[in-house]
Symmetry: C2
């Protein structure tokens, strides 16, 4: 392989029919589909690999996923051909032509120096959608909305969510992994009732461990239903171990909405710091 | 069958996997599923029949469909059993239990005297969703949103749509049916760009003929793309015959959002007037 250029690829996907992001033999995954599409479109002899900002679990969606990939400059130039579009635009159009309907390439750009989709990210924003008025439940949104019983008290949920903010060990809300830290900074956690009646929970953190967003929502939901006090989720957090009272919410209600990066000049330094703090086994969700 | 009571049943459905509203042998239809569910839940010896406000075509969705059905009072009472809910609430809960996930019963009420879901209706409101920025296209909304090329000029579309309002013969936008009038009153037709970037067209009329909403949107879309003048759709209307330049838009972008009825005291008079004007073969869309 000759000189390479790093590309940033932003995408959205409907996670319903995927076994999550990460490629697995014999399974349909977003990484697998994207990697195959890139390899096909670039006519690369070797599989084109992709690094992702947030490794979503099976059934989890994304509206603002970010990836990077390093491609051979000659292959990229050939893909663009004689079109008057940039090579990146041409690649995006070609990818859209071969990808299945449940993956949308939002844009392809050349990445700024030092950019790493995973380690340069400063925060990830997730959204969780819950419908509590079954008579208003929209069957067209059943793929990204979870129906629950009982009118939710959004103010009580926000009182509970607020107490979880900040730097803490989120082991109580994480599936354990050997050698991976569960210390995270929860930057935002709040619920709001949308115009269509759906209760949407926004969760922002520097990074997430496995099943963390779904466990956080599952801890606060019983507060909204009046089955737990607003103090309970913070007590679970402090106890530091998984609590059987915390339901891990279904994947289909969850979507990765946005990944934030620092200004271009800080990209490399941020990536260096993330790698050092979280290590290769963690932090990519 | 003994004494009967007329029920109003409001429902939503994802039209993707249905061959439209109307029951057809060997096809999966909304009417077929609802009729079967009612027959099952009420343990009726005869199939329970349903009358609908808007007969949606294959692939068309509904968030505010209205139906009525006449059920035996004894069967209804038995369905409610000894629960402390009303018989109508109990029936709604039982229907939800047997209906597939793509049909949602929003509520079941006893209908006011003179109510006819089809003929008492004063207007129907439809919504059509078009995504013109493919990089923002949300794959989770691909089942109810149609992607088109070219940034749409919403102001030009509204200029064109405005000229179609009022009482007219909409033959140019209708599939012909023997003996059915194509005279309708278009009460509202306007486009707006939603927060997520999608262009939504709202269409309200006293009633619609076959494929009328999809043809109206298909006439105005080329105006938004700059391929036709804002005066063109009104010229097609006046010509009074189907124009090959008018694309009948795909069904999946369309949803029946709301059906309007007059105050209870006017229900019977309105039904009588509709039956006289439109006849049994028309007007039910």
């Amino acid at each position: 392989m000759g000189a390479v250029v790093r590309l940033r690829i932003d995408l959205s996907y409907d996670g319903t029919d995927f076994s999550g992001w990460a490629a697995q033999p014999g399974r349909r995954t977003v990484e697998g589909e994207l990697s195959t599409a890139l390899t096909t479109v670039l006519r690369s002899a070797d599989p084109v690999r992709v690094t992702v900002a947030g490794r979503t679990d099976a059934g989890v969606h994304a509206r603002g996923q970010v990836t990077h990939t390093d491609v051979d400059v000659d292959l990229l130039a050939m893909t663009a051909g004689r079109s008057d579009r940039s090579a990146e635009e041409a690649l995006g159009a070609r990818l859209s032509g071969v990808l299945p309907a449940d993956i949308v390439v939002r844009r392809v750009d050349s990445a700024p120096p030092g950019f790493d989709a995973r380690f340069s990210a400063t925060s990830r924003r997730y959204l969780y959608r819950v419908a509590d008025d079954l008579s208003e439940h929209d069957p067209l949104r059943r793929h990204d909305t979870v129906a629950v019983r009982g009118g939710l008290d959004v103010a009580a949920m926000n009182e509970a969510a607020f107490q979880l903010l900040g730097l803490a060990d989120f082991a109580a809300f994480c599936k354990r992994r050997e050698g991976a830290t569960t210390v995270r900074t929860l930057l935002a956690f709040a619920f709001t009732r949308l115009a269509d009646g759906v209760v949407a929970g926004t969760v922002v953190a520097d990074a997430f461990c496995h099943s963390m967003v779904r466990s956080l929502v599952g801890a606060v939901l019983p507060v909204g239903q009046g089955r737990r006090d607003p103090e309970w989720p913070a007590e679970v957090l402090r106890a530091g171990r998984r609590d059987p009272g915390v339901l891990v919410m279904p994947a289909r209600g969850l979507s990765l909405e946005e990944v934030d990066y620092p200004a271009d000049v800080e990209l490399a330094a941020r990536a260096e710091e993330s790698r050092r703090r979280r290590g290769p086994a963690a932090g990519a969700r």
